[in-house]
């Protein structure tokens, strides 16, 4: 039962009032990005030698790619655990992932100080430092962006004349491309977690654990499901399609209970490392850890009651999961990082607006592509 025939462009006018606002924010972002390249990072951002990684890496790259793990999380469910009924959710999730990862790549290019050397990363293999976790992340993400657009290509070329010639070839190859699309995020999402291990003694013990790669992997899957829920609810209301709400409840349940497993693993790890006492401290670190934990526990509480027909609670659960995962990453990369006394960081106003612009571009592209290409499916009656 292929869903492909059911997917249709959502159609409708593009330049609505809301869309124009998105475009305006995007344009502002682009202007600020050009300005950033003219004046340099020191003027455009509040990053400094104490906090060399800032908002763009933490939000647009680390959190953004985790939120874009919907395609990955769904692929595991549909193709490995063989839950075919979630299939209609896959294509829009792949679009979200493709856009999310592409914007993450763009964010990296904006954040780099010497982006003209970026092309050397995949090509100068003789200079590769195989010890560098960041190299793994960079190469893997570059490959994954490519894979995502390939996975999306059937939808993009469906209406073109290439469709007939290319589609059969794509069909056969897609199995191995999709498998790659599950291998690569497993690698780079865990390596993103491994990144901050190199901060060594400068990473606060509440976050500094050898389990960081595993914890990042667990949370990105939960965040992926949460984002699928978001995107599905948003799409159905925005593009006026019925949503697959029943499936969404199950997905959010996976996310919520995944989050609980994550919390348990963290506490066990803290106990084993003898750091449980830090949890109760009323300092910045104890408080942030507490907020994180609360945000992970809440979705489980929300999901544990029967809410078969309360999409609002579903939405709130997904929000909590997404924010919890984002906060976990912000804490790992920025809050738990201790460069020493005297250093401070909070993103500058232009930094904030560039991030906002990048997110607006992503949203605008999503809306445009959904309206023009067969991404969203029609109604499937599911229980």
């Amino acid at each position: 039962m292929s869903e492909r025939d059911d997917a249709k462009p959502a159609g409708g006018p593009l330049l609505t009032r809301g869309y124009l606002i998105l475009l305006a924010l995007s344009a502002l972002g682009v202007v600020l990005i050009l300005w950033r390249f003219i004046v340099g990072l020191g003027v455009a951002t509040a990053m400094n030698d104490g906090y060399p990684l800032g908002l763009w890496i933490t939000l647009d790259v680390v959190t953004g790619t985790a939120l874009a793990c919907g395609g990955y999380a769904l692929a595991l469910l549909v193709y490995i655990f063989n839950r075919g009924k979630y299939h209609p959710l896959v294509r829009p999730a792949i679009l979200t992932s493709a856009l999310g990862y592409t914007m993450a790549g763009l964010s990296v290019a904006i954040d780099l100080g010497r982006p003209w050397n970026m092309w050397k990363i995949p090509l100068f293999f003789r200079d590769w430092n195989l010890n560098s976790a960041l190299l793994e992340v960079a190469l893997c993400i570059m490959a994954y962006v490519f894979v995502l657009w390939v996975e999306l290509s059937p939808a993009l070329i469906a209406k073109t004349r290439y469709a007939e010639r290319v589609t059969p070839f794509l069909d056969k190859a897609l199995l191995w491309v999709i498998a790659l699309g599950m291998l690569l995020p497993t690698m780079h999402q865990s390596s993103l977690g491994a990144l901050m291990l190199l901060a060594g003694p400068r990473l606060h013990p509440l976050w500094n654990t050898p389990l960081l790669p595993l914890l990042f992997l667990m949370t990105c899957v939960a965040m992926g499901y949460a984002m699928v829920v978001f995107e599905a609810i948003f799409s159905s209301r925005f593009f006026r399609r019925p949503s697959h709400t029943a499936m969404l409840y199950t997905l959010q349940k996976f996310a919520a209970w995944g989050g609980m497993v994550f919390v348990v693993v963290r506490f066990v790890d803290l106990a084993v490392r003898g750091r449980l006492a830090l949890v109760g401290q009323l300092d910045l670190y104890g408080v942030m850890f507490g907020i994180e934990t609360l945000l992970w526990v809440l979705p489980a509480v929300l999901a544990s009651r029967t809410h078969a027909n309360d999409p609002g609670r579903l939405f709130r659960g997904a929000m909590c999961t997404a924010i919890a995962g984002g906060l976990y990453r912000f804490d790992t990369f920025l809050v738990a990082f201790q460069p020493g006394p005297g250093w401070h960081y909070f993103p500058s106003v232009p930094e904030l607006f560039i991030s906002a612009g990048l997110i607006s571009i992503e949203l605008a592209a999503f809306i445009a592509l959904v309206k023009w290409f067969p991404i969203l499916g029609g109604i499937r009656s599911e229980t």
Partner: protein
């Protein structure tokens, strides 16, 4: 569903076995200083804070003057290492003690920054000097995240920024000269030499005047060892040396990453497993894949 679940478990077992075998790699070995390692020895009891080293370093490295010290436009007054300053003298002063301390790259034996750098722009080169090559640098600043001594500095004010840090005057070393700072120091508070010789000299000073110093050579064991060694008459924490654990910074991350990715066997095995399961699933249900 039974077929696919069985095949799933079979596949998982296969992948697990395949990935564990190569992943039983030995724990990452401790790195040692290269045989031709050079270094510096800095003795706080001899330093008079004249800052001739900072001046000589700026001249030898053609660095610009600092022009906005303390954010108040103070000239020639760096508050620490920065994009114009590769070595600096800081002052520790409290009610009972005071000491100068010279800060610059520690030229670690197992450097965190080298472990971070994607294209090996930062690498440990001849004589164990940690050098920087801007042609390989993309300006990601991961080295700044890694360094436990806050050494690499980024040219934030520049539109074509590089990383700036002491490279032990490696061009001068190649000509058989000393680093500029050790050459100019009027009190021989910082001296240059063969690493093993400097270690002996430091031990000798500790043995000869045990009451004069804190009984530790900072850098002998700390964070895997550094080629710049310190003797001090005040506790090292007060001079800004925050860490005394002996494990090299890259140890944990690299043990995990190498354990997982050794020989790239685990990713290949996982890929094979994923493909196999998908193939089986497709066959079992007779569906075409998307």
């Amino acid at each position: 569903m039974d077929t696919s679940r069985r095949s799933l478990f079979k596949g998982l077992a296969a992948a697990a076995t395949l990935s564990v075998i190569p992943a039983t790699a030995a724990a990452r070995e401790k790195r040692l200083a290269p045989s031709d390692a050079v270094g510096m020895l800095y003795d706080t009891t001899r330093c008079i804070g004249c800052r001739a080293c900072t001046v000589a370093c700026k001249e030898a490295n053609k660095l610009k003057a600092d022009v906005d010290g303390y954010g108040a436009g103070l000239y020639d007054a760096p508050e620490g290492l920065n994009e114009y300053t590769k070595t600096v003298i800081q002052l520790h002063r409290d009610d009972t003690t005071s000491s100068f301390v010279k800060k610059q790259c520690m030229h670690c034996i197992d450097p965190a920054c080298v472990g971070a750098c994607m294209l090996s722009a930062l690498k440990k080169g001849p004589f164990g000097v940690v050098s920087y090559d801007p042609d390989k640098c993309v300006g990601c600043r991961y080295c700044e995240v890694a360094c436990p001594f806050n050494v690499p500095k980024f040219q934030w004010s520049n539109t074509t920024p590089k990383i700036v840090k002491c490279e032990l005057c490696r061009d001068r070393l190649a000509e058989g000269k000393e680093p500029a700072c050790t050459e100019v120091c009027p009190r021989q508070a910082v001296i240059y030499g063969n690493y093993a010789d400097l270690l002996n000299e430091a031990r000798g000073r500790l043995a000869a005047s045990p009451n004069k110093y804190i009984p530790k050579i900072y850098g002998e064991h700390e964070l895997g060892g550094t080629q710049v060694l310190y003797l001090s008459h005040v506790p090292f924490e007060e001079l800004g040396f925050r860490f005394s654990d002996t494990q090299a910074v890259p140890h944990t991350q690299q043990t995990i990453q190498h354990g997982v990715y050794k020989g790239f066997a685990a990713p290949v095995a996982l890929y094979a497993l994923l493909g196999a399961v998908m193939f089986r699933n497709r066959g079992a249900k007779g569906e075409r894949d998307e």
